[in-house]
Symmetry: C3
Subunit: 267 residues, 3 copies
Amino acid sequence: MAPPLITLLTDFGTADHYVGAMKGVMACICPEARFVDITHDIEPYAIADAAFTLGQSWQYYPKGTIHLVVVDPGVGSTRRPILAEVGGHNFVAPDNGVLTMVLASDPIAIVRQITNQRYFRNPVSQTFHGRDIFAPVAAHLASGVPAVEFGDRIDDPVRLPFHDLQNPDGSCDGAVLRIDRFGNIITSLRADLAETKESGCLEIGSRFVTRLAASYSEVEPGSLFLIRGSSGFLEISINQGNAAREIGAGTGDPVRFRRAGDMPANL
Amino acid sequence: MAPPLITLLTDFGTADHYVGAMKGVMACICPEARFVDITHDIEPYAIADAAFTLGQSWQYYPKGTIHLVVVDPGVGSTRRPILAEVGGHNFVAPDNGVLTMVLASDPIAIVRQITNQRYFRNPVSQTFHGRDIFAPVAAHLASGVPAVEFGDRIDDPVRLPFHDLQNPDGSCDGAVLRIDRFGNIITSLRADLAETKESGCLEIGSRFVTRLAASYSEVEPGSLFLIRGSSGFLEISINQGNAAREIGAGTGDPVRFRRAGDMPANL
Amino acid sequence: MAPPLITLLTDFGTADHYVGAMKGVMACICPEARFVDITHDIEPYAIADAAFTLGQSWQYYPKGTIHLVVVDPGVGSTRRPILAEVGGHNFVAPDNGVLTMVLASDPIAIVRQITNQRYFRNPVSQTFHGRDIFAPVAAHLASGVPAVEFGDRIDDPVRLPFHDLQNPDGSCDGAVLRIDRFGNIITSLRADLAETKESGCLEIGSRFVTRLAASYSEVEPGSLFLIRGSSGFLEISINQGNAAREIGAGTGDPVRFRRAGDMPANL
């Protein structure tokens, strides 16, 4: 049997000692655990961004994987630490919405409030629950402690509004979820809205992106186009260019998908 | 038994091939070794910063862990490569002060000068001892070579002055050890100086930080406060803000903890 | 026997979910595989830079290592995915020149076009072959599928011109391969051109670097010098300074090594 796998997703960056301290704590509790970093470059406190990034990575891991998520602006407050079982995976995180996309994928997710201090470091710092609560809980899970040991079930975990709203006229409103490293603009609109090249166009700021491409390389460099992204969402891209810089788009910007019949006449 | 664990802490960054080359060298010598990156983002040649980061992470690892530290402005000079046994851990590093905090934690640390070329790559480059000396020595240690094989003991390893000085009037002088990713200002002053809210205040630049908080979240966003940090040192923070940017503080800046009776009258 | 080792080298950065998704895919196919990141900080689409970085790291790994390389501006086009067996190592990459330095090291390298869709994810996204083709192929290799299963041999993999040209007058023309984190200027000129301090000098822009040093530390801080780098190439450096910034040099800039008799008279 393969050793237990723990993924890490935080806003701690990679320059400080925080991630190293968490891995050390886990290596003491579960020496055979293996760590995979999803990212530590989430902008400080950017919960929605972490929720998206987690939503795009956890599903590719084997069942039984433990996902440790620490983006935690409320550390030291009364926000709850939680443990969620979703689709055969375990998630250890603060209850601030960071699991929104994970929970949305499974209506029978089991969420527990982590309360059993037996599995915490002692004493617990009020500024670094990643090291003192979340990491040790993840490692105890990895070493075989059953989920039920950590605390009772709750039915009201925090969920963020990732909106993707159908309007009466058939258009659909969403927002920019993320600008990736290549400048691709990943929206919250489902890729299947743009089923064919005639389905419609995407409105962002003062622009209407009308061209739908099947791959980056089919479009000449320099032109904006719409693409069904690998994330399952609609994206706006430029072949070998930076669409976000070209448009001036940022995370959270509103976007609208307009049906073909509803597009401005001059397009 | 869990496979041997080697942590890495360097100023090599993550864009060049240097870290990848070191791990390859180690994987050849000790194929079962596992690697954990503490950080490679130490500023080039910033020995004191590396000493602090190491001091904040090694202690969380299991006994038997090997810590490979390569921040080495003196590569190719006569500075010694050393191997230290501290508290059941092994450290492989250049003798330039990078182990200062580790050595301070254990009066019976054993330090050896690494001289046995049998455990080096051949030939040894004069510009990359990380690959040719430190990594192979760490990997040979991991595969079971006893420390005594690498060289004789020395009693004068380089130690940096991390000052935390008690003045006759009861005040205490220190310095900023590090600005972390969140803008927290980590000082060299021990957290227990500020035992209660009435203990005193911290002077930094022209500012006096008087408020002591137990957690970030108990303070309204925007206000500076003092906190006993998770590192065991006093820190200056702003809840969900960037204290270092607000104050204009940087690594090495002097700080002073003043006892309650010694504070300026107008505070 | 040690578990299979897969190295990763991409231009995906570390902030997005792309690398995490690839590792998840691989962990499902080959749960015992271990991952080592060479770098994910290759500039987007910088094939030559990736070729150099790979050329400087793969050789240090044990035989049997699988190197997964995804710098792939042509994703979704007709560029071929390839699998190369070189010196006992396996390489999985797009056929765009990224293996140039690896292939140059072994005249009997075996290169195959990856065509067997049985080893792909299904469906294959047209924008993320890293996740859907390259990662699963690497993981299937790691779990023991023989190379011949993935596709037929080809004899025309793309090779980039890494020039290092001998001129009739004995001088040698090359280019800057890379500026490293320390500002060292790594050229494509072989280190052994500068066998002795009298061999010649290096011309870059309007400068002639005449001094040859054996180590950084033998030169006073502030002075430019030539050094036989740990990569096997000539480098231009400043002890504890940044040579690239001093000179204003960048990747791709031409350099020329001039024999001693061919140097300008006023040097």
